[in-house]
Amino acid sequence: MATTAESQTTAPVATAPTVLHTGTRFTRVLGVLTIASLAVLALFGLIISPEDITQGESVRILYIHVGTVWVAYLAFVVTAVSSAAYLWKRTRSLTWDRIAGASAEIGVVFMALTLLAGALWGRLSWGTFWVWDARVTTTAFLFITYVGYLAVRGLGGSHQQRARRSAVVALLAVLEIPLVHFSVKLWRSVHQDASVADRTSNVTLDDTMLFTLMLATVAFTLLYVWYVFHRQRVLTLEDAMDDSGLDLALAERRREGEVAR
């Protein structure tokens, strides 16, 4: 049995936290770059880029619409890849699960913004906020699927149970992305087909408009990377908080047991 003196020397010393945030030098630089690129995007999207010959000024909404949907797709693919990395025994780590969760949360927010910007653009171009069109409907379905994924993550159980069941859902949910992308080819749709990314297309785009479109994807991608870093660190802290709460509850039970004896 340890003496009082021994237990004093071996007992863990509780230290006050000195790091009171989830940032690093890298994320701070990334944050500044993101804010700068979003500011330039607003300048080009709202003022500098010209209006479209057929769409007029409403083309400005498409810089937001395309940029946000790109990030939503990226986020859901990253969720699936991270989930596969968790399920694969060689790379199994809760860090992958937290990256998957963080990425899906951001994807859901960006998908909601895509639907909102699309509705505003649709009101100007199609005369209505919503149509039960193949692309629009499958996109809404994708959004609801990932809201479901987040709900699955919120179910009870251990961190490992959460990681396993949500990883399976993520790998099934990502199969919807090709369906959304090719919906305009599979069914009759009022939504336009791929134009800029399609090399066989004869669509020509003004240089400033193309630059603004590319800038939107870059700016929103930087924002996404910044979010993932911070959000997965917050999830790490939430898990640690859960664990420490469990440790405290167990210690409390042990003390109660000792008193009862």
């Binding site: 690093t24 909404i61 505003l120 660190r233």
Partner: protein, 44 residues
């Protein structure tokens, strides 16, 4: 500019939501980081 209300609504909603989410993530991180030891922060 024609249709200014719709265009501004799309930009304000996107930038506003992005800013609100960033603020919430940073605030949540700071709240939790204050309550946990540095050993639980692998990025430090």
């Amino acid at each position: 500019m024609k249709d200014l209300g719709f265009i501004l609504a799309s930009y304000i909603s996107a930038f506003g939501a992005a800013g609100a989410l960033a603020w919430w993530v940073l605030r949540r991180g700071r709240t939790l980081a204050r309550q946990l030891p540095d050993e639980d922060k692998p990025w430090t």
